[in-house]
Amino acid sequence: MPENPTRPATAAYLTARGFCLTSAAWMMMATLVGFIAALELVAPDLTANISWLLFSRLRPIHVNLVLFGFVTPGLLAGAFYFVPRLLRTELYSEKLGIVTVILWNMALVATMVTLAAGLTQGREYAEMIWPIDAGIVTAFCLIFFNFIMTVKHRNEKILYVSVWYALAAVALTTCTYCLGNVVWKPDSGSLTGIPDAILLWFYGHNVFGLLLTPLSAAAAYYIIPQVCRSPLYSHTLSLLGFWSLIVIYTHIGTHHLLQVPVPTWLKVVAIVDSIAMVIPVMAFLINIWYTARGKLGLIHGDIGGKFIFTGTIMYFIVSILGSLMALPDVQRVTHFNHWVVGHAHIGVLGFSGMIALGGLYFIIPRITGKPLFSLFLADLQYWMILIGVSGFAIVLTISGLIQGHAWLNGETVYRVLSEIHIYNIIRAALGLLIFLSAVSGFYNIFRSVFSNPGENP
């Protein structure tokens, strides 16, 4: 490795450390807000007359903080560690990276304050007002510049698949974020009518498909071979998965709009490509699972590997669900109800969130040069999240099916509310579990990065 051997370990990977702490801290806030919002589904008058705690304000805060506060920074922390390592060089600029971390956190604080104050553009996943959009896009541009300059100064000719995924995630998200938030119209942040819906869901689904998914795949492709101490099953297959993801995933957003008068050809493209997502998904999973074949003991013995491998299983589940949900006949039952919320939790918490946390626990000992503060707490968090997300999947699926069938049968809403009440209670209880796992995780990660009593090896 051409790293500077005289540089002390504590000065290295400052950007990765910054994103580690960002992810852990905002996970606490995001899950707390989610928990309070879930409580309001059980007791709607809980925060009556407190405007900034109304469900309509908490929901977008929860969603945006999970996406941009917890999961994305967690995955970026991993990327800022493994991109330079895979290129056998150092990050182009740690200073620029730190500026990015600070800018990112300023945008998150502004997001929370403005959405709580009711300053919203009212479009799902694109609620933030224009100045915050500008901050987030600038942060993505800085990250892309840092990565691409690192690539330019690389000492390894071949770009490992994780580098492809990380670069594509940042570059494509910069474009889709600008488009989806209609940044050329600062006042409204939207077009009008059906074109706006198409553009919004093009962006909305690509937040998962072109940001969280590639960054998660990048982390898995880097960490699973290391944990298993064996080479990747097939690099060619991984590149096939990468390029097919880029070609297919970009078109599927309109499957959110099958009940809307968008052009039929666009719906057909969205449905066909949603089914075709089996190709990149299985290319990724076959590759990872074959790499890990016969090595599950090693994965079980590494907390980062354990989180990530579980994340790949969740990816399988969420992808199969996603493909099926794009079918119009299935969607008649599953759309506009809790089923979709369950699907989103499996995807964002079970898949990307698990992999983000796995990445954090994998890189922290390597960037600090010390062991994790507590393996026990990390393991505890793993089980709390696994139980929480599995529970979410079960109760939200049941409650979604009740809602969907009731709607099809023309039942009135208030009769259905009493039928799903118990599932909302369990959902809130599981939310508490996830929030406490985030508190435990933050404490563990904070102590691991700062004031870790562990000895340097």
């Binding site: 490795m1 690099h235 062991p371 929030f435 435990s440 404490y443």
Partner: protein, 84 residues
């Protein structure tokens, strides 16, 4: 009329994608795939001990906090099921 914007974006994306793919092809990114399989393993790093160094009091506090959360979750569900 919104198709021109969308088509322009799609075509831009397709052309950039093809350009990057062709660069990769000419740059030899798809050759030597056997060596590429090992790239994630080639880092040299000091072995890190896997043991925990957390102090007992703090660990127990967090553990009991988590336990209290689990208990509260069950209590909430139990209350809703049997006492309402």
């Amino acid at each position: 009329m919104y198709y021109p914007y969308f088509l322009a974006y799609i075509l831009t994306g397709v052309f950039i994608g093809i350009a990057v793919f062709l660069w990769a092809l000419k740059n030899g990114q798809f050759s030597d795939q056997q060596r590429a399989r090992f790239l994630a393993l080639e880092e040299v790093r000091p072995e890190v001990a896997a043991t925990s160094h957390g102090s007992g009091f703090q660990l127990y506090f967090i553990f009991y906090l988590a336990l209290a959360g689990v208990a509260a979750s069950f209590a909430l569900v139990g209350y809703a099921l049997f006492f309402q």
